[in-house]
Structure formats: C-alpha cells, structure tokens
C-alpha cells in the first residue's frame, strides 16, 4: 500500500519480434505491463503510473505518471517495434519524469523491461544506479528475452548499485510455457516486498513461523506463537531459578531438568525451524515440543481432554505448556485473563461452551497446584 509513482520503461526494439514467449515477446511484455499497471493502481488509489518506450526513434514518453488506467492501456496500442533499446537514456528520462510528478509525497520507482542485449559497460550502469540511489529512486528490472552471457551480470551490478534496503528487485524470466505476466505475479515486482495482499499469493512460496499460514488458521498460529514465547520465557526463568536453587535445597529432579531445559531450548528452536522448513503438521510440532521430559510436575499432563474438540485440544495443549511457568506466578495469573480474552476472541471458540469452561477451570486448578507445590507440598489433584 505504499504511495508510489512508477515509470515503466518498455523495450520496443526489433528484438521483441521473436516468438519465444507466446505470441511474441512484445505481446507478452504488453500483457505484463497491463498487469503491473492494474496492480499498482489497485494497491493504492493515489498511485500513478507512466510509460515510456526506449527504442524506436529514441526515448519517447507515452504518458506521464497518471492514475488513469484507461489512458495507459490506450497508449500501449500505438507502440511500434523497431530500432535498438537505449536503456541508459530511458532510465534518465524516467527519472526526470518522476522528478516532475505532481504529488511529491509519492515514492519514486522505475520498472525496466530489458528484452534486448545490454550494450553498456558495467561501470556505466553502476554510475546510473548510484544516481538513482542518490535521488532515492527504486528500480525493478525484468530480465527476459535475449540471453547473452554478460547480461545478467550487468543487470545485477546495476541492481546492487541502486539497491537501498531491498527496495529494488530483479527478475530473470527465461522463455517457457508460462506467460511473462504469470511469472511476474509471484515476484516482488508486483508484490512490493513479497507477500501480495491484493493478488493471491503463490502456493508454497510463503515462509511462516511454525509452517502455519496465519491467513488459513489464525487461532492455531496465534496459539503456537503464544506458547512459543511463553516457553522461551519459561526457559529463561527456569534456568535462572535452577541456578539459584542449586545452592538451596537439593531437588533430585533439578539437575536433570536443568540440563534437559537447556537442551530443550536448542531442540525447540531446531524443531520450530524444522517445522517451518518442512511444513510439517502443526499438531506434530506441538507434540514434539511436548515430548521433552523432566518437568517437576508430570501430573500436570493429565488434563481431562475428552470433552474438548480437536481444535480446542491443540489450543489447550499449547496453553498448558505456557502454564508450566512455575517461577513467575503473577505473570501466569495475568495470562489467565489474557488466555480467556484470547479464547473469547477466537472465532471457533465460544467461551460459554461448557467444555471450554471446564478447560479453563482445570488450567486454573493446575496453576494453583503448581503454586502450592512450589512451597514443597505435594501437588493437589486437579479438580
């Protein structure tokens, strides 16, 4: 949703007559341009897009940055192929057009379609890139069409000269069965910083924590995230407490749980990264983290889960893990209200549902029992 003024530099040289993209390179490019214009104007109504051609009789601006999509599409009809592409001049003219944009609050961006061979030196391109960076203009390069050995290198050099904070991108599209525009959909050229909000994201191209897409399953993702954070906090607290208590009364389980806690931190991190990398079943991820042994009150594991539904079960397990924070009871009790508010806000869970109420009560009972155990009394049974 960034407010942007974009200039698209089109390659309309003789090289665009080639048919390796269907129906011909030029048509594929035109479709891609239409797609980009639509996406830009959709993502923010105040975005402007302008078009210029780099070949033909010389660099020619077809439209200056405008919000009018119809005008842009109409201009594309009149473009004729011929001549050779003059990329340096094209970029400079684009820069000038952006400089004179009406709304100075817009970020400046140039999108270059590089279909013909690049005849410039790397150094010249780097100078151009630096000038763009100096004037805070971002650059997107679509490398398609002619492939000669030096071209990708040169374009990458241009990109690194311009790039400021990853705002500039390069996309290499080899000829193939997919249309140019289809390939572009999943790239950062169309999606800003990757992960488009307006266009459907390409399947499997997203990296989320825990391998769960928050869009698909928000309550599960939230529960996992909450439990992960609580777990980490608990680990740190447990490590501190273990260090203190080792000087105090000896608890036989302490040393073993200390080392196990330490390993658990590492293994939990590993598992989390594994889980996100392999997209494993989130239930598996939870059960993995549950399997770590050596906590002072194994009896807490026994919660009556038979009444809960599958979703609530996972949620409850995650909450249990977070409830095991023995040292910081006030935090847990606060979390209790947080927990109930979280539950209340989840779409699938009705807080007045008797099974949910039972769950909450049992969790409360556990936390009370943990508190009592801390004073070296035998653990109470849960309610």
């Amino acid at each position: 949703m960034v407010l942007e003024a974009t200039m698209i530099c089109i390659d309309n040289s003789e090289w665009m007559r080639n048919g390796d993209y269907s129906p011909c390179r030029f048509q594929a490019q035109a479709d891609a341009v239409n797609l980009i214009c639509g996406a830009k104007t959709q993502s923010n109504p105040e975005n402007t897009v302008g078009i210029l051609t780099m070949a033909g009789r010389g660099v020619r601006v077809l439209t200056t940055p405008t919000t009018d999509l119809g005008k842009i599409l109409a201009c594309m009809h009149d473009v004729e192929m011929g001549g050779e592409m003059n990329m340096a001049a094209g970029i400079q003219v684009a820069q000038l057009a952006l400089k004179h944009r009406q709304n100075k609050n817009q970020q400046q961006r140039i999108i270059v379609f590089a279909g013909s061979p690049v005849k410039y030196d790397k150094r010249v391109l780097e100078v151009i890139g630096k000038t763009l960076k100096k004037n805070s203009v971002a650059l997107d390069i679509v490398n398609f069409g002619e492939e000669d050995g030096r071209k990708p290198e040169k374009l990458e050099a241009l990109l690194s000269a311009v790039n400021n904070n990853d705002s500039s991108h390069i996309v290499h599209i080899p000829p193939g069965p997919n249309a140019l525009s289809d390939v572009l959909i999943s790239t950062p050229v169309l999606n800003g910083e990757g992960g488009g909000s307006d266009l459907p994201a390409a399947a499997g191209g997203n990296d989320f924590d825990f391998g769960v897409d928050p869009n698909l399953d928000p309550e599960l993702a939230l529960a996992l995230r909450v439990s992960m954070e609580e777990e980490r906090a608990r680990q740190e607290a447990a490590a501190k407490r273990a260090a203190e208590e080792s000087a105090r009364q000896e608890k036989v389980e302490e040393p073993s749980s200390n080392s196990q806690d330490a390993t658990m931190v590492d293994s939990a991190d590993d598992r989390a990264s594994e889980a996100s990398g392999n997209n494993t079943d989130p239930v598996q991820a939870i059960t993995l983290s549950m399997q770590t042994p050596g906590h002072n009150d194994p009896s807490v594991h026994d919660v009556d889960m038979s009444e809960a539904t599958h979703e609530e079960e996972e949620l409850a397990i995650a909450l249990q893990m977070s409830m095991k924070d023995e040292s910081d009871m006030s935090k847990v009790l606060e979390d209790q209200s947080f927990v109930s508010s979280v539950l209340a806000s989840l779409p699938g869970v009705d807080p007045n549902d008797p099974s949910v109420k039972d769950l909450l009560a049992s969790l409360q009972g556990q936390s009370e029992s943990e508190q009592k155990k801390k004073e070296d009394e035998p653990p109470n049974d849960e309610k």
Binding site: K99, K104, K130, T131, K133, K134, N135, S136, A161, N164, N165
Partner: protein, 176 residues
C-alpha cells in the same frame, strides 16, 4: 565592539529545533541506518556516536520546513575532523530541490567550514538573507578530506521567530 554586539545579538537567539516541522523533513542520499534525526533531533544529536552519513557519494541534501516563519542567525554543524562537511550551501524557501538543480540557483549563503566550526563554533550567516524563512535546504557539497562518505554529528539552527499567530493558541471567545 563588534564581537560584543555579536554576542549580544546571539543571546536572544533560540535553538530552532522546536520549530522544525518533522513531518516534512527530508534528506537525500542519506544512509538509512545513519539518518537525519541522528544529527537534528534533541538527544540524538548530543550523542557523538550517532551520525548522519551519506550513502552513494559524499553529498547530502537536507530539507527542513518550519512550523512558523523564522529568522535564521547562525548555524552549528558538528562533525568528525576528516569526514565532516566542508562546503555547505544554504537555500531559504526553496522546496523539493534535487541534486540536479541545486547548482542552478544561487544559494542564500555559502559556508566553508573550518575545523573549528566542526568543533561546534557557530557559523554566523548573512542575517539579511534569512529574514523570512519558511523552509531551509542545506546542501553539503563535499567534506574535509574528500572521502566518499560525509559524516555529520550535529546540526543546530539558531535564530528567532517572527511573531506569527499560533493557530493552536487561538481560543474561542465566550459569548456574553
């Protein structure tokens, strides 16, 4: 005599950092991790470890609008001995300049900073040129040692405000 009167004038000057309109402040060619607030904002600018640094080359273009009209008396630019700025051009009331047109207008004032200036000795400006300043553009053209990166630790502007109406202070008159 002149120094006495100069210091006398200086006593009534205030630090104009309170009148900077932060929503419109811009800086071209700054390194994003070493940005303008490091040199301009109270607190950050006192920390010599936090600098404003240039990015692609040694020039910097800083645009500072004010919330009201001010008169500018002097400016303090503090920087390290080698990478601190040398030639500084000031433009008053020119909006949205770029590096390409910065040499087309004559600056309202030009200052060549000496190492003393870089140690916080204020540069006194041509007061007559800065009587009615709504915005200030600072163009740092090069630095002391000619290196590729210019570093600025602090930029402070001194002057007075012109008595303009502060719209926020206007209160509705009660009907009798």
């Amino acid at each position: 005599m002149s120094t006495e009167s100069a210091s006398a004038i200086q006593k009534s000057q205030v630090d104009l950092v309170d009148f900077v309109d932060w929503s419109g402040v811009e800086c071209l060619n700054q390194n994003s991790s070493h940005s303008l607030p490091n040199a301009l904002k109270q607190g950050y600018r006192e920390d010599d470890g936090l600098n404003l640094e240039s990015d692609a080359d040694e020039q910097l273009l800083i645009y500072i609008p004010f919330t009201q009209v001010v008169k500018l008396y002097s400016v303090v630019v503090k920087g390290p001995e080698e990478e601190g700025p040398k030639t500084v051009k000031l433009f008053s009331n020119k909006e949205h300049m770029g590096f390409s047109n910065v040499n087309e207008f004559p600056p309202s004032d030009t200052a060549i900073l000496s190492p003393d200036n870089l140690k916080e000795k204020p540069v006194v400006l041509k007061y007559v040129k800065f009587q009615n300043v709504r915005s200030l553009t600072i163009f740092i053209e090069d630095n002391q040692s000619g290196s590729d990166i210019t570093k600025v630790q602090k930029i402070a502007l001194f002057g007075t405000t012109v008595e303009t109406t502060d719209m926020k202070g206007l209160k509705k008159i009660e009907d009798h």
